[in-house]
């Protein structure tokens, strides 16, 4: 138990900062996810125990919202907007080019070396610049298939340096 507490010290801190309120579960999960990069199963169990709610409740919330991921994500997350505006201005070819370049697909959105994860989002609210891609937190407008490959290729060597 001692070990476990130390292991989840940060998680507990997050829970405490929300005074353990069940109504803050989504916010707690958001903070925990930004800490770990994803929501590991054992952490979800810990949260449930610590907050005195059933693991099913926590899992239910964690799987309901698109923002939460139960599997690890790559170091760089590439989010291609596939909202209406981006769709009609060609977001699909961008995704196809990325999938091919990175050797991933919708079932397996993360590269084996955990370098890249490809996600689609339904509108980033920058529709005027469609098609929009967020690569490593940076918003790129008026993207093209070869343009995104250039960005990805620039990120990759940078990644191997550290």
């Amino acid at each position: 138990m001692e070990n476990r507490d130390i292991k989840f010290l940060n998680v507990q801190k997050i829970i405490d900062s929300h005074e353990g309120k069940v109504s803050h579960l989504i916010g707690i999960l958001q903070e925990v996810q930004s800490d770990y990069g994803y929501l590991p199963k054992e952490v979800l169990t810990y949260i449930a125990t610590s907050m005195g709610i059933s693991p099913a409740t926590v899992l239910g919330v964690a799987t309901f919202y698109a923002q939460f991921s139960l599997i690890p994500k790559g170091k760089y997350v590439i989010r291609v907007c596939d909202g209406t505006a981006c769709h009609v201005r060609g977001s699909e070819p961008i995704m196809m080019a990325l999938r091919k370049e990175l050797g991933i697909n919708t079932e397996k959105p993360t590269t084996d070396d955990l370098m890249f994860t490809l996600e689609t989002v339904s509108c980033l609210g920058a529709c005027g610049l469609a098609p929009v891609v967020v690569a490593d937190e940076e918003v790129h407008g008026q993207m093209t298939p070869d343009g995104i490959l250039e960005i990805v290729r620039k990120l990759a060597p940078a990644a191997s340096e550290n």
């Binding site: 989504i26 919330v61 919202y65 060609g90 509108c123 609210g125 610049l129």
Partner: protein
């Protein structure tokens, strides 16, 4: 600094206004999401630094004494014309520069700031006439607009509460606390004819009166900033560009129904909007404009922010409430309506961001002024997010009742890249697709309802003749199927089947019988679903079936996609007669599918081709075709 009374507020306004009047010139650099993505913050920093070096910068802190006539450099919210960003506007002249880069700062300072000249190359060029346009007012994109909700969005610094106060900020709440009781506020809003801007178009005053008549003491105001509709970004722009107007709107609503606490539910995809709202709340609290005994009255109000976590259905009122309570965002049957039994069982009013941002105008100017805009049944203005295959994309605010044609052609400048108009998708996944013969329809809640579409939150996506309407219907079905919460069978299973049918058709495997099945199933989903998501999900299918039936027929009968858009039904090939062998295409092809010698016709290997179209876009000789 605490603002403890109406007099304090008034004095502060006078003081900051006096400071503003000292400004000889104000330079506004757009710091909305679009412009920031294009590097506007660097432009801002460069301009500010240079002007400071010349000793011309006025104090950024408006409340500090300003001793000389100077120049102010400000960030602002979205000016609307995002596609031409980063935008830089000058006041009072109204001069507007587009696509400004950091490197341009020096020339701007030397020419425009110091010598009142114009940097020609930064002016907007009307793509239809080639004319260079100097000021915002002369720009066809802005000319027909009427900015009421967005009046100060793009003109004030969203992070500066004093700038808001200088522009009559918090005067509406001050006015009602002094002069009006809650019933009078509700009556004013009722008289204004304001209808909810979040989609349904329900009269705001009427909704409030339900909640107002409920027993207290605990009631809530929720600001719906979920903006789940893909292709819509009005709410984001208001939250980013004038966050205090949303807070003031919530306070007005709170006073009207007797609530003393509010929540802003904002989507997690909008980090900048959330940041600006948080800052606005903190500043309002620090000045005593939120909290207890606001402006010395006995009105208390507190505002919290809840970040959404990515679920379209959470925009629905009861789901939103469940989400704030920390649960999965699943809709509940209504009644009881939230106005009676909402957040934590208390009477709750949920209003859209834009609805709330309209309130200060109504209170400050009276219902009559507001009603001067719009139509008899839909008063006021509406902001639309104009996007898709249109020349000028961006945020547009027009009086209700203008026609789609005016928006798409006069403001939007018509279609881009020489495409032909095909349709406008309005109202997002709940809306419909409108054909050319509907272009003269006035944009009005009831008129659109008549043709099976809706204003919705205001997304307007223009589609050209290379957009396939079957594919578009499939796209929306994919979206709602993905977002269905799964609570009721017609929505959960029905949308899945609709998607399967549409996919089959776009792959050229559909039959004519499938079209009837599609229509029947769509009707069933509409009738049998619990919440608005399922009830409106079939709208894009039904309207496209209605207005573009021949396109469906072409897919099922001739196995052809007339728009050349459906992946499975198209093949790229290079016309050897036209190809000059310039090698451009093989260099952009992300799949390495194009081979050929220099100066010799190239060929596409169809097995490798991803059908991305990049080659076709780049070929200067029009040699690449779809068959």
């Amino acid at each position: 600094m605490l603002i403890k009374s109406h007099d304090d507020l008034k004095q502060l306004r006078q003081k900051v206004k006096a400071a503003l009047d000292q400004e000889k010139m104000r330079i506004l650099v757009c710091a909305g999401t679009g412009c920031v993505a294009n590097g506007s913050l660097k432009v801002y920093a460069a301009l500010k630094r240079m002007i400071e070096e010349k000793g011309l910068l006025t104090s950024v802190e408006l409340v500090e004494e300003v001793s000389h006539e100077g120049i102010a450099v400000n960030i602002s919210g979205c000016h609307g014309f995002c596609q031409m960003g980063p935008l830089v506007r000058f006041e009072p002249s109204g001069l507007l520069y587009c696509k400004v880069k950091e490197e341009d700062a020096e020339e701007i300072v030397n020419t425009t700031v110091l010598n009142n000249g114009i940097v020609e190359r930064l002016l907007y060029e009307d793509p239809n006439t080639g004319e260079k346009i100097k000021t915002q007012d002369e720009n066809p994109f802005y000319k027909r607009q009427e900015r009421v909700t967005l009046r100060y969005c793009g003109r004030i610094d969203p992070d500066d509460i004093y700038d808001y106060i200088a522009h009559r900020g918090y005067r509406a709440i001050s006015k009602i606390l002094q002069e009006m009781n809650p019933e009078e506020v509700i009556k004013e809003v009722n008289d204004s004819g304001l209808r909810g801007r979040g989609g349904g178009g329900f009269p705001t005053g009427r909704k409030w009166s339900f909640a107002a008549s409920q027993p207290g003491p605990k009631k809530y105001i929720i600001c719906n900033g979920d903006e789940g509709d893909p292709g819509a970004f009005m709410d984001r722009s208001v939250m980013e560009g004038n966050p205090h107007s949303v807070l003031e709107g919530m306070m007005i609503a709170g006073y009207a129904i007797g609530a003393n606490e509010g929540y802003i539910y904002a989507r997690a995809e909008y980090p900048l909007a959330i940041k600006r709202m948080r800052k606005a709340i903190a500043d309002a609290e620090a000045h005593g404009l939120l909290g207890n005994n606001i402006l010395g009255s006995d009105f208390n109000f507190k505002i919290n922010i809840k970040e959404g976590a990515g679920a379209f259905v959470c925009g629905e009122e009861t789901a939103l409430i469940a989400s704030i309570e920390g649960e999965r965002g699943m809709p509940r049957p209504r009644p009881p309506f939230p106005a009676v039994k909402g957040l934590w069982g208390c009477p709750t009013i949920i209003n859209n961001v834009e609805t709330l941002a309209n309130l200060r105008y109504i209170i400050n100017n009276g219902a009559g002024e507001f009603k001067k805009y719009g139509t008899a049944g839909s008063s006021g203005t509406k902001t639309f997010a104009l996007a898709g295959q249109v020349q000028n994309t961006g945020l547009v605010e027009v009086p209700m009742g203008v026609t789609l044609r005016e928006v798409v052609f006069d403001i939007g400048g018509g279609l881009r890249d020489g495409k032909k108009y095909k349709s406008v998708q309005i109202g997002g996944p709940s809306g419909g697709c409108l054909t050319e013969d509907k272009l003269d329809l006035p944009l009005d809640y009831d008129e659109l309802m008549k043709v099976g579409a809706m204003i919705g939150s205001g997304g307007l996506v223009v589609m050209g003749d290379d957009t396939c309407m079957v594919e578009t219907a499939k796209f929306f079905m994919g979206f709602v199927q993905n977002e269905s919460c799964g609570k009721c069978v017609p929505c959960r299973e029905g949308t899945k089947q609709l998607l399967a049918l549409l996919t089959k058709i776009t792959e050229g495997k559909g039959t004519e019988a499938d079209l009837d099945l599609l229509e029947e199933l769509a009707q069933n989903v509409k009738d049998g679903s619990l919440c608005g998501l399922g009830k409106t999900a079939p709208n894009p299918v039904l309207t496209t079936l209605r207005y573009f039936r021949d396109e469906y027929i072409a897919h099922v009968r001739d196995k052809k996609c007339p728009a050349g858009a459906c992946q499975a039904l198209k093949e790229y090939y290079i016309n050897p007669e036209k190809c000059k062998g310039c090698t451009v295409c093989s260099r952009v092809c992300p799949a390495g599918a194009i081979t050929g010698e220099k100066k010799q016709p190239h060929v596409i290997n169809v097995d490798l081709c991803l059908k991305c179209g990049a080659c076709m876009e780049k070929c200067k000789f029009g040699s690449i075709e779809i068959r």
